[in-house]
């Protein structure tokens, strides 16, 4: 089979490191062959992002023995011995894309605008709304202080009243905001509200901002139309924000597709995987300052950024929001509380340090569980069906008490949970990553677990988005194949029966049939955690839950399915949802130690 694209170079310019990967067509499929990284060079003394890109590419050259660069130019196309066919990049350097959004009703157009901005990969600094309780002058002060890169203004259904959205526009005009980067260009404003107000909006904001008008984000109450706003945000990110950052003009001239904001690229990849496999997915990226969560349920994509939940810069905020007790409940030994808070404070002020002792590692992973748990709560609250919609309800809906604005996140429907970010990707044992994911997200039924160990999803995401006709097909094939073969480290599958069960009572009988024909039977009991080693291979499973217990087919209903192992294996989780820990210290520590031992989480010694 001949391919138009034989090799792909992709980079991701993060705020601290620039990562380059080389993808090549080998033996009838695309594979990741080499990767390199180098410090990002957006800030002084270099102030040119391309320096870091070249350094990262040079590392790929050294490792692969392939010439890719000619001086500071990327050689294209691939002539068989040197050069690459295409080059793409994402970027979150310089703090990423920082936006402010505005809508008339906070929970309706405000939320739709927020969803569009987050989906495009931006950080939403604030949501202004007519009903947010702030006085006009307070809103104005806020806009001036924040200096966003871009503003998305929405509000009103098409043809409806224009008064409220015009009031917001007047507030924007009075604030006359200046962009964060560069003194000499006008702030980009996207208007995605009531089409009847477009002329008045032009009159009010046309002179003081760089105004773009797109289709209404909420043309009617029942419909959300995010695509036009999201695309416009991507265009403006390239044209305005990136063009102001040092070296980006040069970088943009090198790439074969527009540079995407890193989280936007990750989101679009996750969306694509969910669509192709027809599955529900949750992805998480836990960083030093923020935690990003992406989900696709019922075909609907959502992304949230918990701006102040992270493992270094924001670690004290995790402590402040969850409370010390919630962190300590995951720690299987006693520790002086004031000393612990000082230690966590020291991690905040010296964010690059790593846990040397086992005790430090256990504490860090306890904090990670809480950071993930809190971020996921925020995500569940945001990823909802549209609010303010009147829907016809059937009798069964009424019994289920479902209404507009309900969370789309249903843990029993979740098929794949993917983790990334230092604390999950670089945990010394993969079992630790699996435990953190399970304890924080509390999956139900059958859920596959994975980590993206080198965080390749951004590069694959931008690859999947190439829209040049002659390259499109090969690029998206490459993105999917590399995602399947090289990007994810499959940890295994977690099986969790849920329902009210008495302590230690049987929750399910499980029969596993392996590829070699061998069979294994086991019971899952309430409060237990068990693990079976098994690589990433098919296993047939038949689960017979006890009365009142559900594993995905309904209460008491038998479920037959095919599951996969992984580097950790198959995990059987009999712990209640939410996972309950005893208030008595001895019992709690005992449970924690048992669970850790069951999955071989930590090295045996003084602590375990």
């Amino acid at each position: 089979m001949s391919k138009k694209i034989k090799s792909i170079l992709a980079t991701d310019c993060g705020s601290t490191t620039t990562k380059a990967i080389l993808i090549e067509w080998k033996e009838d499929r695309y594979r990741l062959t080499f990767r390199g990284e180098a410090p990002t060079t957006v800030e002084a003394p270099f102030e040119d992002v391309t320096k870091g890109v070249l350094n990262a590419v040079m590392e790929v050259e050294e490792l692969s023995g392939r010439t890719i660069l000619d001086g500071d130019k990327i050689i294209t196309p691939d002539d068989g011995s040197k050069g690459v066919d295409i080059y793409v990049s994402t970027s979150s350097a310089g703090g990423g894309l920082q936006m402010m959004v505005a809508g008339v009703v906070k929970s309706m157009s405000g939320e739709s605008a927020e969803r569009a901005a987050l989906g495009a990969g931006s950080i939403v600094m604030d949501v202004l709304a007519s009903n947010d309780g702030r006085l006009p002058h307070e809103k104005i002060t806020r806009i001036r202080q924040l200096r966003p890169d871009m503003i998305l203004l929405s509000g009103g259904t098409d043809g409806g009243t224009t008064t409220h959205v015009m009031e917001l526009a007047e507030i924007l005009a009075a604030a006359n905001p200046r962009p964060r980067l560069g003194q000499n260009y006008k702030l980009p404003v996207i208007y995605a509200g009531n089409n009847k107000a477009q002329d008045s909006i032009r009159e009010t904001l046309g002179d003081i901002s760089d105004l773009d008008i797109v289709d209404n984000i909420r043309p009617v109450l029942e419909k959300e139309n995010l695509e036009p706003s999201r695309d416009k945000i991507h265009d403006l990110f390239m044209e305005h924000v990136m063009a102001q950052a040092p070296g980006y003009k040069k970088l943009m001239s090198w790439t074969d597709a527009p540079i995407m904001p890193t989280p936007g690229a990750v989101g679009s990849l996750i969306e694509m995987i969910a669509k192709k496999e027809n599955i529900s997915v949750v992805g998480v990226d836990i960083g030093g300052a923020t935690t990003d969560i992406f989900s696709v349920f019922e075909g609907k994509f959502n992304r949230t950024v918990s701006a102040n939940l992270g493992m270094s810069y924001s670690i004290c905020n995790v402590l402040a929001e969850s409370g010390l007790d919630n962190v300590l409940r995951w720690v299987p030994f006693d520790i002086d509380r004031s000393e612990l808070t000082n230690r966590i404070g020291n991690k905040m002020i010296r964010p690059t340090t790593v846990p040397q002792s086992l005790e430090e590692l256990v504490i860090e992973q306890a904090i990670a569980r809480e950071a993930l748990r809190l971020s996921f709560i925020q995500h569940k609250e945001f990823a909802t069906s549209l609010k303010g919609v009147q829907s016809e309800r059937t009798i069964s809906d009424a019994f289920e008490q479902s209404s507009s604005g309900q969370s789309l996140v249903n843990m029993m429907d979740l098929d794949l949970l993917v983790g990334s970010g230092g604390v999950l990707s670089h945990a010394p044992r993969r079992q630790q990553s699996a435990r953190m994911l399970i304890d924080a997200f509390m999956p139900e039924g059958i859920t596959q677990l994975a980590v993206d160990s080198i965080f390749m999803m951004p590069q694959l995401g931008v690859l999947a988005n190439i829209d040049k006709d002659e390259l499109k097909e090969d690029a998206s094939q490459a993105a999917l194949e590399v995602f399947d073969n090289d990007c994810l480290i499959r940890l295994g599958t977690c099986i969790t029966p849920v329902g009210n069960a008495k302590p230690n009572s049987k929750m399910a009988d499980i029969k596993l049939t392996f590829n070699d024909g061998s069979v294994k039977e086991l019971e899952v009991n309430e409060g237990s955690l068990e693990m079976i080693d098994h690589p990433y291979e098919e296993v047939k499973v038949s689960i017979v839950p006890a009365r009142g217990i559900d594993v995905g087919a309904g209460k008491g209903e038998t479920l037959d399915s095919v599951i996969y192992g992984g580097v950790v294996g198959l995990i059987f989780d009999g712990r209640n949802r939410p996972i309950a820990l005893s208030k008595e210290s001895d019992k709690r520590i005992n449970s924690l130690l048992n669970w850790s031992q069951a999955v071989d989480e930590y090295p045996k010694g003084e602590l375990f």
Partner: protein, 374 residues
């Protein structure tokens, strides 16, 4: 020689200290290149746009937004005083008029036909920027401010609270391992910058606040005491805007940690001299550390003595361990093995071998900080 790049905190006996003194908005620079500056010299000034009052004229007068124009008594750009009539209905036969008055002194900025609102902007708010440290104007940035240059001793802390303060340094603790206690703080220390050793308790800080000490430089402070000082849990280390009489600069970290010998002796050497300090800290991309600047009299402002670019950790470097175990201890690097090493936590990391108190210990390089001296 093997080396690694770990940013350290600066402790410099003599350096060319440069600082941008910039207005928040464009304005007027009041000094020239080469001018001598006192800390109090105003170097630039401007006016921030005043607050905005939005008057819902159509609602108050109960008329249509499009009819607001007819009721107006003012024009865009017109100055108004508090109480001036902004708009008035004609009433019935000149009776039963209703009107809207300006709530403030200001200027009519805009009048909206679509919402019936009138925007009145209050008088501009003047803003001034002072020199902060004595020195010379190195460079004028047109309409924005200056870059100040000064011959000074310069020390960075790890974390601080409250913004810029000035005062004479006063050595209170006699050694870097000694705690600075509440009893040692007396009313005659008002306006001074106190130098402590290993620790400052919440009580001692409160005492300092009450006698209006300008600032305290100390090795350690308890993280959980910050809540009592700030009124909230400090989630992210971004400080500097706290309205506190006494700036606090912590040089080593949270807990009781002896101040590094180099920092302590440099502060001691300069006991009694005027200094400028700033507790403002931002720990995120583009880190800002709190600082202590002690101008040195009579020195030439030449570039030759300027501090060199920070170097990475090398064999023989003096380093400080910045994470437990061995937190706060200082040692010398004896070797920098290139291969990855497995720690007790099973984390695979690049390490440095450090001699601490006569014993060689392996520590992850990420957990070390250069102690920069000269």
């Amino acid at each position: 020689m093997a080396h690694s790049y770990t940013p350290g905190l600066k402790v410099l006996k003599k350096t060319i200290f440069k600082k941008e003194r910039i207005l928040p908005l464009k304005g007027e620079v009041l000094v020239k290149s080469g001018d001598s500056l006192n800390p109090e010299t105003i170097v630039a000034s401007t006016n921030l746009p005043g607050n905005v009052q939005m008057l819902k004229v159509s609602n108050i007068l109960n008329i249509d937004p499009k009819d607001v124009v007819d009721a107006l008594k003012v024009k865009e750009g017109q100055d108004v005083e508090k109480g001036d009539i902004i708009a008035e209905t004609s009433g019935i036969f000149g009776m039963f008029k209703s009107s809207v008055e300006s709530p403030v002194d200001g200027t009519v900025e805009s009048i909206s036909k679509s919402t019936g609102r009138v925007v009145v902007r209050e008088a501009p708010i003047p803003v001034e920027v002072d020199a902060y440290v004595s020195g010379k104007v190195d460079q004028v940035i047109e309409n924005e401010g200056i870059i100040l240059k000064s011959n000074a001793a310069f020390i960075q802390g790890i974390f601080g609270i409250a913004g810029e303060k000035r005062g004479d340094l006063l050595l209170v603790s006699s050694s870097p391992t000694e705690e600075l206690t509440a009893e040692q703080i007396t009313p005659d220390m008002k306006g001074k910058i106190l130098i402590g050793g290993s620790f400052l308790s919440l009580d001692a800080y409160k005492k300092a606040l009450s006698v209006k000490v300008a600032g305290i430089v100390v090795g350690g402070f308890n993280y959980y005491d910050l809540k009592a000082v700030l009124g909230y849990n400090l989630g992210v280390a971004i400080t500097g805007t706290e309205k506190l009489n006494t700036a606090l600069i912590v040089t080593e970290g949270y807990g009781s940690i002896p101040m590094s010998e180099a920092t302590f002796s440099l502060l001691k050497e300069n006991n009694g001299k005027p200094a400028s300090i700033n507790g403002a800290t931002q720990i995120r991309a583009g880190v800002i550390r709190p600082e202590i600047v002690i101008p040195i009299d009579g020195g030439n402002l030449d570039n030759e003595s300027e501090s060199k670019m920070p170097e990475g950790i090398q064999e023989g470097s003096t380093v400080r361990v910045i994470r437990s175990p061995n937190f706060g201890k200082i040692g010398k690097v004896t070797s920098l093995p290139s291969e990855l090493n497995k720690m007790e936590s099973e984390t695979m990391v690049r390490v440095a071998e450090i001699n601490i108190e006569g014993k060689n210990i392996l520590i992850p390089r990420a957990n070390l900080e250069m102690v920069e001296t000269e």
